[in-house]
Every structure is written in C-alpha cells, then in structure tokens.
Symmetry: C2
Subunit: 110 residues, 2 copies
Amino acid sequence: MATNNYIPKRPDIIDCNIEKTLDVIGGKWAFLVLRELFGGTHRFGELQRRIPAVSPRALTSTLRHMEEKGVLERKVFPTVPVTVEYTLTPKGEDLHQIIMEMKLWAAKWT
Amino acid sequence: MATNNYIPKRPDIIDCNIEKTLDVIGGKWAFLVLRELFGGTHRFGELQRRIPAVSPRALTSTLRHMEEKGVLERKVFPTVPVTVEYTLTPKGEDLHQIIMEMKLWAAKWT
DNA sequence: CTGTATCCGTTTGGATACTG
DNA sequence: CAGTATCCAAACGGATACAG
C-alpha cells in the first residue's frame, strides 16, 4: 500500500502515450474500415456494402477522420458520376502489428 | 478495381476479431486506468487522484466494466472505513504487448 | 456515385450531493 | 473511503431526403 515509493512492474508503460493510436483505431467503425482497406483499395460504395451496419454519415465521418490522421488517402476521379477511392498510407499499413497483437490476445483469452 | 477477385494484401487480418480487445482498452478511461495498474495495485481514491479528469461515476463504470471482462480484480477489505484494491489479472497483464506496439507506432509516426 | 443536410432519439458523462 | 443517485447538457449516431 506504500504508494509513495512503489516500483512499477512495467516501467516502459509509464510514459506511454497511446491515446494517439486509440484516436485512430478506437472509434466505432475505424477498425472495420481498416480491415477492408488491408485487403486493398476500396470505393465508398464498396465499403458501405461490406459494412452493412454503417450509415453513410458515420462512414463519411470515419473516413474523413482517418484521412486527417494520415492513415488513409482519398483519391477523387473526375468521372461522371464521380469516383472516389480510399487506400491505406504507409502509416496506416503500419498499424498491422498492433492489430496482430490484438488478434493474438483476443484468441488467447477467449 | 476488380473487387470480385482481389487478393488481400494482409490475409491474416481478414478473419481478425479485435472488437473484443477494443472493448477492453478502447473506452475513454480504460487505458489510463490500465497504465496506473501496470505500476501495481491501487485503491479507488488513488486512481482518482492520479487521473484527475475522471469523475467518480466514470471511474466506477470503467472499473466495473474491466472487472467484468476479467482484466482486473477488485478486492474489498472489511476495514472501517472500507478499503478496496484493484489489481491486474494475468489476462490484464497480457495486454502489455499490445500497448507496447501502440506506443511504438505512436512514437514512429509523430 | 458520393456524399451532405436535417431531424431527432439514445447514450455518455460531468457536477453535485449524499449514503453505508 | 468508496462509491451511488440524481439531474442535466452535449455528443453520437441512425434514418431519410436530397444535391453536385
């Protein structure tokens, strides 16, 4: 109970800032979008079909947020009608290790 | 654009279920509590002081949720006044690798 | 096709006071 | 000390219609 001079079990965690990471993958839909984009580039409508529960409003919000954070890139093609493609950036692809660790943990602790 | 027969870049992500993991560490306060408990056992009031922005209501809710998920243990000592201690379980300690990966990612992509 | 605008119900969470 | 009860404001998010 001596909280004044306790020795941390995991000193590498103390100064750890993962809020930034959670800000990217912690949202309600962010991971579902990521999962799709790890499979390759997708268009807005494709994402909507593959994630049936998401409303267009929420999907737009999620995509914009992730674009702002630099984990995906949005490309607009001036076709008629317009075409938009979403692709992971290297920063986004690099989330791979984190997600793998999450997958391993979830599998281990059923 | 051939979405019918595309080959995923990250096949190991496709069947991945990390919702369970995010359910534990994705909440607004969960990680801040985890960070404290990685330093060792703490009492309710200690957590409140170390996480000044959290209200008692939110802290209780977070702790109860994490207890329910099996990542921490709540021990009540029938002293007067009552004493309550929170400690990570092995399942909770095992979140360590995930958090380390998050920390590395956040550090890499300033 | 790819969103945006609007409405609105639900949920979240802070502040505060109070209890065993 | 460790919460719980209550109130209330803000944010989230779904449904729907519509615009460029």
